[in-house]
């Protein structure tokens, strides 16, 4: 499966150029002969096959979701939605209906029915703050577990891990009581002195519950950086902590970016606490989840709006992934990171 690393990318280019003048052999026969005589080509073919397979399987549900969003709500239950939205009828185009019987308006109704943008913003803010918090705290802890030797390391690591053994529900009752309690000290900062309806009521538990994973990821990546670099930074005049943030963290860019993306996504999509720590009002920091669920009633479910809102809600993540993948894939570690 490791197709390309077999040879330099420039080989591929050259081979493609060289492969041109063989067209007139039997198509299949020629192809097979090439495969055998040139395993690189076979790898290449396998590579493209896999890539396309992955693309189709990951993207099809989104495509389907999009079709669902375009389906007018009256069309549910009439025909199955497969490749075209329900009610899709190209012949309507002739009648001047450019939507061809679909309902692109769903993408606007999402915002008019509910302040969906505000929900997304809330989630975005909560996820951003949570991610920063997680990365900072987990960096410190991951560094300790990945690079330092001290007594009690394994037990402490297990203690962190134990948090992940429990379903979130196991934390809920005590946390709910805690976060709804009125703390007079908090009263000047937060209306009515309890954390309910305050973003931190989501940020704190969700970050903490995601923390073990972040710590483990960072631990693994930090452990891989050779000691020499940290030593060099310390000699150059950083503190140990400085060396962590100036050398270890940037060098673990793939790991940190991964932990960051996962953290953001996890918090952004979190299900349990998000739905319980606010009263569901956008102005009370209710997250995007409440927005999506807002289209679902006991009776009537606005499937098309749920689908449209999901697509919209996924967009920030898509942007994040585009940005972060640069980091994840930056070949920083090539060449000079060596013992």
């Amino acid at each position: 499966m490791s197709t390309e690393e077999e040879q330099h990318p420039d080989i591929a280019a050259q081979q493609q150029a060289a492969g041109e003048p063989e067209i007139d052999r039997g198509l299949i026969e020629g192809w097979a002969a090439k495969m055998i005589s040139n395993p690189e080509r076979a790898y290449k073919a396998a590579f493209y096959t896999f890539t396309i397979a992955f693309l189709v399987t990951t993207l099809f549900p989104f495509y389907w979701l999009f079709m669902l969003a375009l389906t007018p709500s009256g069309q549910f239950g009439r025909d199955s939605i497969v490749l075209t939205p329900g009610g899709f009828d190209p012949s309507l185009l002739a009648e001047g209906d450019i939507t061809m019987g679909t309902n692109p308006g769903a993408f606007i109704e999402v915002f008019t029915t509910l302040p969906f943008h505000r929900f997304v913003f809330n989630s975005f803010l909560i996820a951003t703050i949570g991610t920063v918090l997680v990365l900072f705290v987990a960096s410190l802890a991951g560094y300790v577990f990945g690079r330092l030797q001290f007594r009690g390391k394994t037990p402490l690591l297990l203690l962190v891990l134990i948090v992940s053994f429990f379903p979130p529900a196991a934390f809920f009752v005590p946390l709910n009581r805690l976060f709804n309690r009125n703390f007079d000290v908090l009263a000047p900062i937060i209306a009515d002195g309890s954390l309910y309806n305050h973003p931190s009521a989501i940020i704190i538990p969700v970050s903490a519950l995601y923390l073990p994973l972040a710590i483990f990821i960072l631990m693994v990546f930090y452990a891989q950086i050779p000691d020499g670099l940290e030593d060099a930074a310390r000699v150059e005049g950083t503190t140990r902590l400085g060396a962590l943030f100036r050398v270890i963290v940037p060098l673990s860019a793939p790991g940190v970016a991964t932990a960051g993306v996962l953290s953001f996504i996890t918090i952004y999509n979190e299900y349990f606490f998000s739905s319980l720590m606010t009263d569901g009002r956008a102005e009370n920091w209710a997250p995007m989840l409440e927005g999506v669920l807002g289209f679902q009633g006991q009776y009537e479910t606005l499937f098309n709006l749920m689908a449209a809102s999901s697509i919209i809600a996924v967009l920030p993540i898509a942007i994040l992934v585009i940005v972060a993948q640069e980091k994840i894939v930056s070949g920083l570690t090539q060449g000079a990171v060596k013992e």
Binding site: S2, E4, F50, T51, L59, P61, W64, L65, S80, I81, V137, L140, A141, V144, F150, K153, L156, L157, L159, V163, S164, F165, F166, P167, A169, A170, F172, V173, I204, A208, L209, L211, I215, M219, T239, R240, P254, T258, I265, Y268, N269, Y271, M288, L293, M306, A307, A313, V314, I317, L320, V321, I322, I328, V329, S330, G331, T333, Q334, G335, K338
Partner: protein, 335 residues
């Protein structure tokens, strides 16, 4: 000239404790850096868990204002394990459900929830790892447009669970989706996939793989990217075929990242709930966490819920121990 007199000597307050730390032993330094993490965990995890543990030792009280009755020790645990507890009859008795090869294991907890969960964990984690690895290898290549392929592969992970569940629920919804007809046509599904444990199980598993393979891919990709490329040069010269390079260089070097990914995937899969709830429902595919949530939310048996949560944790811990052994062997620094 020889003495260093930096112009902007750092006198910020923040620096003082950091400087103080420099001279301390590695252990003191370690504890200091761990403090924030443990403070957060103490507040949000250890304290609630301790409370929950306490709750699990009391009787359920469904009528009074206080949800807990008198102290009963471990009897909630005993009841859950022996099937005497009033955990909701939310779970199909798998043994009599056709078409799904479950064995009779005793109490409903063990026979249904545990078994469904374990089957789910093993199947889904296996395929997610396999597919995630494949995806990561593809994403690790340099090719035109790989940036977009990367986004496409990772994006399912970004889909909120509610929506993930909804997509698959709707695809297999007899009115709206096409999935049931397709699968029935292929002879894989029975007549009511959303009401059948076997078919529902497949739907949930596929949905989970669709979404979480991306998680594996992301972590493995990061691991792949951290490998010093000159090692591949050495291996190439040593005569390694691509497969051997994968086996002897890539695999062992991503192993720590891979095992961490699998570890957390396993723990997550063990706690599967949201997806089930949002797609086929807990009554079709009962998992351990379903049991907790339903006891908690629906029947308000908090003590029983707490006991089930702890039992879940015990089951998970068994798996985790296995992983930790692997992680240590793979060179992940645990000792």
């Amino acid at each position: 000239m020889a003495t260093e007199q930096p112009p902007g000597e750092d006198t910020r307050l923040l620096m003082r404790p950091l400087n103080w730390l420099e001279t301390k032993s590695e252990a003191v330094y370690a504890y200091f850096l761990l403090a924030p993490a443990f403070a957060l965990l103490a507040l949000v995890a250890f304290y609630p868990l301790f409370q929950t543990l306490r709750y699990s030792l009391f009787a359920d009280e469904t009528a009074g204002a206080d949800p807990f009755g008198e102290f009963v020790g471990l009897s909630n645990y005993v009841d859950v394990l022996t099937g005497n507890a009033d955990v909701p009859r939310q779970f199909i008795d798998i043994t009599t459900t056709s078409g799904f090869p479950f064995i009779e294991l005793g109490s409903p907890f063990l026979r249904q929830a545990l078994f469904v969960t374990l089957a789910f964990v093993i199947i889904s984690v296996f395929f997610e790892t396999l597919i995630g690895f494949g995806q990561a290898l593809v994403l690790d290549q340099d090719f035109k447009g790989n940036r977009w392929v990367r986004v496409a592969v990772i994006i399912p992970w970004a889909v909120p669970i509610v929506i993930q569940g909804m997509i698959f629920f709707l695809i297999f919804n007899p009115n709206i989706g096409f999935g049931s007809d397709l699968m029935q046509g292929l002879g894989i599904f029975g007549s009511n996939p959303l009401a059948s444990t076997r078919d529902g199980f497949i739907i949930v598993t596929v949905a989970d793989i669709w979404k979480t393979a991306a998680f594996m891919a992301l972590l493995i990709l990061a691991g792949l990217q951290s490998i010093d490329r000159s090692l591949y040069d050495v291996a190439k010269v040593s005569g390694a075929t691509p497969w051997q390079r994968f086996k002897y260089i890539t695999l062992p070097l991503v192993a720590p990242a891979l095992i961490v990914a699998m570890l957390f995937r396993t723990m997550d899969a063990m706690r599967i709930y949201g997806l089930i709830d949002a797609s086929v429902g807990c009554s079709t595919v009962p998992s351990m966490t379903c049991l907790v949530i339903i006891s908690l939310e629906q029947t308000r048996r908090w003590a029983t819920a707490s006991a089930v949560a702890f039992l879940t944790a015990v089951v998970i811990s068994v798996f985790v121990l296995v992983y930790l052994v692997f992680l240590r062997d793979s060179g992940g620094d645990l000792q």
